[in-house]
Amino acid sequence: MKMTDHKGRPQVAVTGLGIVTSLGKGKSDNWAALTSGKSGIHSITRFPLDHLSTTIAGTVDFLEASDKGAGALTFQLADLAAAEAIEQAGLDGRIDAPLFLASPPVEIDWNARFALHAAGVEGEGCNRLLDAARRAENHDLFPASQFGTIAEQLARKYGVRGLPITLSTACASGATAIQLATEAIRRGECERALAIGADGSATAEALIRFSLLSALSTQNERPEKASKPFSKDRDGFVLAEGGAALVLESLDSALSRGAEILGIIRGCGERADDFHRTRSKPDGSPAIAAVSAAIEDAGMRPDEIGYVNAHGTSTPENDKMEHMSLSAVFGERIRHIPVSSNKSMIGHTLSAAGAVEAVFSILTMREGVIPPTINYDNPDPAIELDVVPNVARQASVSSVLSNSFGFGGQNTCLVMAREPV
């Protein structure tokens, strides 16, 4: 077997997968729910809903850290996914390799701010928090104020080698983590890497912020029906939480230690958009360039892609733009390639989405089942796609394109394959 790809770089194998979403913990629960078209979206119970125009989300409510704040929950989501992936890879709890963590920018939360404010004696408003910090007898709140904390907790627990990287490319972050890990292996800096995307930041403030940008669905009456990518009456994404981890490894290293090859990361492509902070360039050129770059990086032609795991957020703008970009790259053939959106069931897991959807993409190839786009009852006539409507489909899939697009002009695409070259 060839250990290198068409550019002479080490082929990058996936040897471990882990996942947590609102559908459950672990691959088997998630896969069973996803392929039966089950939705994880529900009415929010974590915080009061007064004054909010959106009251639904795909929060992960069944973990110990679910009510402990965004930092604690993001860590636990990453931790559970990492443990599952490392175990599957047969690495006995220690990765001994670099970490690339996609996580939300987590600030000190409101509970901590209120507690600090109450402990302050002098000053008003935010200055009183500083007064409380000076008087504090311990530094218990300090870790939550540092952006490197979650990665450090993971690094110490799993034997990460070197300085871990925490990154954000907004809603493309999870895909970027996989890209950076893949590139590090290709450059020969490491034989193996751990890529994680985790996001437990569905707080009231996050919901309000996205609402102010008119990005969220307000179809609160039937939560499980709100996320409806590619439908005519889609009105925004559904905020959600999740975590996913992938153990990536040079094919050579994986085979020589007898690890099972779960899939291959064949190509990564990206292009930044310079048009607007939240809207993409009207001609779709950055997304088109990112899709094309990923396929080119994989050493493939567009007609070799068997399935598209869409970004498919269910916002009017994304789904339209994504359809246009795919049409530009695939031409007429796009109407016959299955294109489905996991977000119809799990919502938009933000910083985790690219990693969550990469895990589902690998499972799609391994299991020979394409998860559906649910809630496809009222197709958008302007979007002619085979969205695998409402019901999962048996199919032999040997390669997947997974798209991730984010605010700030972030466009990152991954091409994954079932078998090495």
């Binding site: 920018p105 408003g125 935010c126 300090f142 990154l167 020969g188 930044a272 902070r277």
Partner: protein, 395 residues
């Protein structure tokens, strides 16, 4: 020499000493550099504040300026200066193929809105409802975008058209150590031909001070010399605001377009000591060994923060590491967090380019360096975690 050597071909610098490489070089080599301080605005803390900046010089559209808070403006401004300095500003073809790695934390929260919520919470039990009520009515949508970590990079794409790739690393000093290390590795492997890398930090905001003092890291009784801060009562760190961006470019690309370089980055190393276990000095010593330092006297531009444990460990490791003349730049610029390592590397590059050392910042503690520095070390030992060093040489 290799076609893929990593050259520094552009510098964008804004600190309390002003803007641009020349202004900084003359300030730090005049021998009379005095720290520029503000001890009243955030008393009892002292900060190194930003100078007056005419934002329009790098961010021409007022609409763009309005979409950003100071942190993003500062970074976008410094990035534009770096592109200008490298002769790449407005070169659409070059910028469209340019990679970008930005180090960032969160942006500035709205102090008025947060303050109003905190004050109202004194008399209300229903705090969850209070947060919803205030945020839904008083938060400005643009401010959310001004707070997103990756939107500094997003603004650089919009204003300067850098669109080859865009990555944002998070996590205090470690984020920019990883950013420069990754950018250099991309060039060395042939993956990138030119990369914009850097950060900005705006300390003039209570949350930015809170991020240090929740850990007890800040000085509270005015400024004192960097290397003796462990003798004071405070935590040792005096912060500053800065925007620092570098254009890194392969030798092949720089030479093909006849672009002069300040210096070459010979090597970048990073570390991640398990500090509670006491391994910091050993980790710094290991990094020095990995850099394969030249024999003889060496000039080091140190990013030491003043934080007691980290600064002591660095001083100990450097003094045991050979004949190293250290310059503690935080004494002049303050600690600029994500921008700390880019600043140390930028100043080291200026020493190489000018074939001259920076005089001691703290006479008596920092030793003289005679002659031309052929190699210059840049260090950043994080105040709490993460360690990095780069060794620079003439291009």
């Amino acid at each position: 020499m290799s076609e893929r050597d990593v050259l520094i071909t552009g510098l964008g610098l804004v600190t309390c000493f002003g803007e641009g490489p020349e202004a900084h070089w003359s300030a730090i080599t005049s021998g009379e550099a005095e720290p520029r301080l503000d001890s009243t605005r955030f008393a009892p803390y002292t900060i190194h504040p930003l100078p007056e900046i005419d934002w329009g010089r790098q961010i021409p559209k007022r609409g763009d300026q309005r979409q950003m808070e100071t942190w993003q403006r500062l970074g976008t401004y410094a990035a534009g200066m770096a592109l200008d300095d490298a002769g790449l500003k407005g070169d659409e073809e070059a910028c469209a193929r340019m990679d970008m790695i930005v180090s960032a934390a969160g942006g500035e929260r709205d102090v008025e809105v947060d303050g109003a919520i905190l004050e109202a919470a004194r008399t209300r039990e229903d705090r969850g409802v209070l947060v919803n009520e205030k945020l839904t009515t008083e938060l400005r949508p643009t401010l959310f975008l001004a707070q997103l970590s990756n939107l500094l990079a997003g603004n650089i794409s919009i204003v300067h058209k850098v669109t080859g790739s865009s990555h944002t690393f998070m996590g205090e000093e470690g984020s920019s150590i990883a950013a420069i290390q990754t950018a250099a590795a991309r060039i060395r492997s042939g993956q990138s031909s030119h990369v914009l890398v850097g950060a900005s930090f705006q300390t003039e905001h209570p949350d930015m001070l809170l991020g240090y003092d929740l850990g007890g890291f800040l000085e509270r009784e005015g400024w004192r010399p960097l290397w003796s801060r462990d003798q004071g009562k405070g935590g040792g760190v005096v912060t500053g605001s800065a925007g620092v961006f570098l254009v890194l470019e392969s030798r092949a690309r720089a030479e093909a377009r006849g672009q002069k370089a300040y210096a070459a980055i010979r090597n970048v190393v990073s570390g991640y000591a398990d500090r509670p276990l006491g391994g910091l000095t050993a980790e710094i010593t290991r990094m020095l060994a990995d850099l394969e330092l030249p024999s003889g006297p060496l000039l080091a531009i140190s990013g030491a923060s003043g934080a007691h444990e980290a600064t002591t460990a660095e001083r100990d490791a450097l003094s045991a590491g050979g004949d190293i003349a250290v310059r503690g730049i935080a004494a002049l610029f303050g600690h600029v967090k994500e921008a700390q390592f880019p600043l140390a590397v930028a100043l080291a590059a200026l020493c190489i380019a000018n074939r001259s050392a920076v005089p001691p910042v703290e006479t008596g503690v920092e030793t003289l360096f005679d002659g031309v520095p052929e190699r210059v070390l840049a260090t950043t030992i994080g105040y709490h975690r993460a360690e990095g060093m780069a060794l620079l040489e003439p291009a």
